[in-house]
């Protein structure tokens, strides 16, 4: 049975498409060792997914080489060093988005579907050629948006474009980089505010987490390296939901409250000592 293709897109840049792709992929691969997963970095000319996974020094061939017939698909795939069931098809760094056409992508993805259970496509920002190349072969789309009006409007545009495709692509939403403290003070859009505009199914909410920056620089996705709580837990929960397991949404507000209560208790104990 051919595998399923999931597109990670957002419209706006810098909202966490690549980070989400890397983390959800490793969480899925770690959860089920029998699930063969392939990631495709479609950001030709500005590739990043290899850095997030710590695979940048193992790339020999890339996506454009495969499409142009310079090498076979298997030669270009880079297997993850930690998870043998996870592979990456990296983007070319020296070319641009016009090096590939939507028809070539459909053909490439149909070949990958025979080899893998799940194909995850990391879409570049924007709605030009790179977006259409990525969306051409997708069965489902995960829309990443931050709780900002600019990101939400771009996500809305992308959902409208995906809905206009003749093939039905079902859309899911991940709200990334949510700061519960700012939501409480009405300085940031809440999950409900975003859902009211976009009106698509919510897959998960990922809180803002400083550890993401460290993990990205090290090339160790936070979904593998972190323990309970935070963004790592949120990504692991999202991966579980993708496999069909019902996991409640991460209670980011209470988590912050607990930290606050902990700080208050610390303060109280200090005063007691004094």
């Amino acid at each position: 049975m051919p595998g399923k293709t999931i597109l990670f897109t957002s419209g706006k840049g810098g909202v966490g498409k690549t980070t989400s792709t890397a983390n959800i992929a490793v969480a899925l691969a770690a959860h089920d060792p029998n699930l063969n997963i392939c990631m495709i970095d479609m950001d030709i000319g500005l590739r990043n997914l290899d850095i997030q996974l710590g695979l940048e020094n193992r790339i020999v061939y890339n996506l454009v080489d495969v499409v142009e017939g310079t090498c076979k698909v298997k030669q270009a795939l880079v297997r993850d060093k930690r998870l043998p069931n996870l592979s990456l098809l990296p983007a070319a760094q020296t070319r641009d988005k016009t090096a590939v056409t939507p028809d070539q992508m459909v053909q490439l993805v149909s070949e990958l579907r025979e080899m893998f259970d799940l194909v995850l496509i990391d879409c570049p920002a924007g709605i030009e050629q790179g977006f259409h190349n990525s969306a051409a072969a997708a069965d489902e789309a995960i829309i990443i948006s931050t709780p900002e009006m600019s990101a939400v409007r771009d996500a809305d545009r992308v959902i409208g474009l995906l809905e206009s495709y003749p093939r039905k692509i079902s859309c899911w939403l991940i709200i990334n980089r949510l700061r519960p403290s700012m939501v409480k003070t009405n300085d940031m859009m809440s999950v409900d505010d975003v859902l009211e505009i976009l009106g698509i199914r919510l897959l998960g909410v990922v809180p803002e987490d400083e550890k993401i920056i460290v993990a990205t620089n090290k090339g160790e996705p936070i979904a593998l390296s972190s323990k309970n709580g935070g963004a790592g837990q949120a990504y692991r929960n999202i991966a579980m939901r993708l496999t069909g397991v019902e996991v409640p949404l991460l209670d980011v507000f209470n988590e912050k409250q607990n930290i606050f209560v902990r700080q208050l208790n610390k303060l109280k104990s200090l005063i007691k000592f004094g």
């Binding site: 409007r153 809305d156 545009r157 409208g160 809905e163 859902l195 009211e196």
Partner: protein, 251 residues
């Protein structure tokens, strides 16, 4: 420009072949458009699948949770009718399906046609004697950023207009939902009497970028004098004394 429309509140789930899919879609519809549905009175249309008492209990729980007033459940399954009746629902047979697969309803067909003809990017030339069309219908739609609609006549939209969407009509616009886009009614009209007949009605006006009637336009929060609290009530925008006025509308 007289508007004479009756919109049946039907949630049509008959295109889903299994109850599980229909139930998931119902939950999605209600949860993502919680404000839109409110405590609405509506009919529920299901396909011919058998419902067990447990399924009916699930349905009842959802109805209670979203505070809906279900007038009637339409289905052609004998077992489902029995379970629903036992649970206290009013039931009715579902209408036959047409050859094209959609339920037979002239209004529904008009809606689908109008969606097909209105949403394309090519803008048709405007005419004053246009007709009233309905976008949406049994399910609320979302007109998203980048969508561009133009129409000769009156337009009724059942759903939300998101920021970045542009709508232009020669007649009036009624939105059973929220407006946050660029709305222009009475496009190309300059006659004062005709302009006085044109309006824009919406259940909720939340910061639309621009609201225009004929040659007049206003931006919410700057030119339009509306109290913040009014945002969450149905409002009508009309032209009075060469200005756009927003008034609460509970008609």
């Amino acid at each position: 420009m007289a508007t004479n429309l009756s919109v049946a509140n039907i949630i049509d789930l008959s295109r889903y072949e299994s109850w599980v899919e229909a139930y998931q879609e119902l939950l999605h519809l209600l949860s993502t458009r919680r404000n839109f549905w409110g405590n609405a009175s509506l009919n529920l249309r299901l396909a011919s699948y058998d419902l067990t008492p447990e399924d009916v209990a699930d349905l009842k729980r959802v109805i209670l949770e979203f505070d809906l007033n279900v007038l009637q459940v339409q289905t052609n399954s004998f077992a489902a009718l029995k379970s629903l009746k036992e649970a206290g629902f009013r039931t009715a047979p579902a209408p036959a399906r047409s050859k094209s697969g959609s339920n037979v309803s002239k209004a529904a067909r008009l809606q689908t046609q109008s969606e097909k003809t209105l949403i394309p990017q090519d803008l048709p030339p405007f005419q004053l004697n246009g007709k009233t069309v309905v976008l949406g219908g049994s399910e609320s739609i979302a007109l998203r950023s980048g969508n561009q609609i133009s129409h000769n006549g009156n337009l009724v939209i059942i759903g939300d207009i998101n920021p970045g969407c542009e709508i232009r009509t020669t007649g009036s616009i009624i939105v059973y939902g929220k407006i946050s886009g660029n709305i222009h009614s009475g496009f190309g009209i300059t006659d004062d009497y005709q302009l006085s007949q044109i309006f824009i009605k919406a259940l909720k006006m939340t910061n639309p970028l621009q609201l225009s009637i004929g040659p007049y336009s206003a931006s919410y929060g700057t030119d339009l004098e509306a109290h913040d609290k009014l945002r969450f009530y149905p409002q009508t925008a009309v032209i009075r004394q060469n200005q756009i006025w927003l008034t609460p509308d509970f008609s």
